[in-house]
Symmetry: C2
Subunit: 440 residues, 2 copies
């Protein structure tokens, strides 16, 4: 198929819901950016929807909407199919047909990749096309690609992950506010973090699909969804969180796959007590995190947004751009990473530190006497530097000095440096000991 | 060059120090594994060292050691050069010659990639070969590939990172034990975390090289090392950590690059106060972390080992295997991710939860009377389950009940389930409220 591709790469988008809208947006609004990053023009040729009459944002080019999957699957000018419909069927059959027709495929579909991944990947290999699925597990967290590519040299020992944002939101509420499960669930539903029927999330089914995908990549074998031990979070009570905290633990719903002696794998999704010292215990709200332990890399943790329109679009578009960059090697390798950047005319300067706007921490040794702070505050005020907090510390009656710790609201670096030089000249200031920027 | 490559891919290794030894080890010890993952045989053909007479582990094949770079650069049968010598020169010239000779290159060299990256990548493009450099920043953390590949669709807003393990170790010691800087540095040197001349690490020079590489990828333009504002950690005093903690902050040395209005970039390395709520504040000891904020992906954090033999080998070997997988597209795409796994004969079973060994948390509602714990402990003991802690809580004089929270040492899941079923039958046990696994 490679040789038939002209200048423009055409995408057939299957599904135009939340994520599909994000992908369509990215294709339409960032066409110039995509061209710079891939060297190719990428067109949204068709988008499959249920009802073509419904008004949509973004508005698609005339004729792009279709309710007939054949308009994508049977169109020889569609080079890449992007599937964001979800569910096993008919999405699975569509992907099989797309691959069989020699089209590259990007999918965000955890259920299809869990149930049919091995067969679809085999088909893609025999057809010499790509099947990429970064968005199928971990949302915007680049864990799928890391397991397939950067961490490939490792023998993976274990994956431990928080890969369902709905349950993590509920558990975070229960832990922080001692909210009963039912109330936390209702709140998640009210905020749009949980569906009307929350079964897939709270019973661990969604996490098991994702673990099936990640475990398959980590351990190089299919991990059937049905072989994963799955336990939900509905039995947890506020007192469990209280007692766990007393013992030094948080409670998280973990999806875990481990290499076991003899080459076996164990995979499980269930609530777990996690030591409060561990980064997984600090994953809050709808955030996700995946810990990978390999023989070489040791323990790596990836933390980010596991769902949502933009994060999922990041993963889908990343796959798409990588396919486009490699779609025709005859045209040479993809553009240089250091030169496929901003449009002409934008400013390339690396800015000096002087213009930085930052909050600051400053520590001074001063005479322990009245009016010192007033003198310092006056100088800072003249430099447009607002004081946020002042702490006086370590008063030393012997030397008559004290430590003055001042934090500021965001200010211009050059102003702070100038003001501090003036402060250092004050008779009541023995020394300026430190100036440290505050990163919120 | 592609067409000249036969079945075996030959590697020329430049440098056989700590990381070079790890790479040689991986190539020699894991040859079968590499074959499975790439479909190709990869041979360590030559390794460049200063002194070929010095005894080494692992022992290399006879004739593999050489002190003459020409034995690698001028050998047409070396397909991939792996450079782990470090330093700008002569490594930079060697890489230039390797690329000019049509060889693929993997490098762990932050200084070369910072100073010559754009020119070398241009050369690699014109030669239709790969130049990969995952190990040049972040060690085993797969951040370089993520910026080049998975996160490619994003407009990156900022990178904030802890990318020097030596300084983070020192700062962690200073924060935890109120150790003065000089003592913490001496301790880092004694443990091998800091070099005899620690200037590059503690003055932020090492971090600036790495930030130059990461910023270049994130913002698609060269970030000259000299344009990065760099400030070391030697002025920090134990009282700064104490005062910062009172204000709710940790102190970390951050390497930061941000997109500024008008398309400019600001890049800086300096100590910073980081809110204790932020994951970056929780990066301990020699660990590294990189936070990337993109318009689509939002905030992503990658955490792991930023240096060391194994972690760096993970990154170098990942690059190498990815080059090998793509080295000759005429042979078809790389093996399937779900099927390039363990050797024949290993057990493929996904293990049931029954055989899990885990520590457990159990919460019971019991009669508040003497002897209850003894009855429960006897049943657990019969199941080979050792009790780690017992807390009695929420005694209710009205109902005469209490909550009993028991944690166990690692035990077999099936034993715990059986024992707990027996415990539930005890007359003094009103209910078994919860059983939660503990993940350390």
């Amino acid at each position: 198929m490679t040789s038939e591709i002209g200048q423009s790469i055409n995408v057939g988008l299957m599904g135009l819901g939340t994520v599909g809208g994000g992908v369509a947006d990215a294709l339409l609004e960032h066409a110039a950016d995509i061209k710079r990053k891939t060297g190719r023009t990428v067109c949204l040729r068709r988008a499959l929807v249920r009802d073509i009459a419904r008004p949509r944002t973004p508005e698609l080019p005339a004729g792009a909407l279709t309710a007939n999957p054949e308009d994508i699957l049977a169109d020889p000018d569609v080079h890449i199919v992007v599937e964001v419909m979800g569910g096993d069927s008919p999405a699975g059959e569509y992907l099989e047909r797309a691959l069989a027709a020699g089209k590259h495929v990007v999918t965000a579909n955890k259920e299809v990749m869990s149930r049919r991944g091995p067969a679809l990947l085999e088909l893609a290999q025999s057809q010499h096309v790509n099947l990429l699925f970064e968005a199928s597990a971990g949302g915007g967290i680049p864990i799928v690609g890391c397991l397939m590519s950067q961490l490939l040299a490792n023998e993976i020992r274990s994956i431990r992950s928080i890969i369902n944002g709905t349950t993590n939101y509920i558990l975070t509420r229960m832990a922080r506010q001692q909210t009963p499960f039912a109330d936390a669930l209702a709140e998640a539903q009210a905020r749009g973090y949980a569906e009307a029927d929350p079964t897939n999330d709270i019973d661990g089914i969604d996490a098991a699909y994702k673990l099936s995908v990640l475990g398959g990549l980590a351990f190089h074998r299919p991990i059937p969804h049905g072989a994963i031990y799955t336990e939900g979070i509905s039995r947890l009570a506020p007192e469990d969180f209280r007692y766990a905290a007393e013992l030094g633990y948080a409670i998280k719903s973990l999806a875990i796959a481990t290499a076991e002696p003899g080459g076996a794998v164990r995979a499980r999704v269930h609530p777990a007590l996690v030591s409060e010292d561990h980064l997984l215990a600090k994953v809050e709200g709808v955030y996700n995190a995946v810990e990978v332990t390999g023989d070489l890399c040791g323990q790596i943790i990836l933390h980010g947004q596991g769902a949502g329109r933009d994060a999922t679009t990041s993963a889908v578009m990343g796959d798409l751009l990588n396919i486009v960059r490699g779609i025709d090697n005859a045209e040479g390798p993809p553009p240089l990473p250091f030169s496929n950047g901003p449009a002409e005319g934008t400013q390339f300067a690396v800015q000096p530190i002087d213009e930085l706007s930052s909050a600051y921490y400053m520590r001074l040794t001063c005479a322990d006497q009245a009016g010192v702070l007033a003198q310092i505050a006056r100088i800072l005020g003249e430099g447009n530097i607002s004081i946020a907090t002042v702490i006086q510390k370590d008063t030393d009656p012997g030397s008559g000095t004290a430590q003055l710790v001042i934090t500021t609201y965001p200010s211009r670096e050059a102003n702070v440096q100038t003001a501090l030089a003036a402060v250092a000249q004050l008779g009541v200031v023995i020394s300026v000991n430190n100036l440290i920027r505050i990163e919120e």
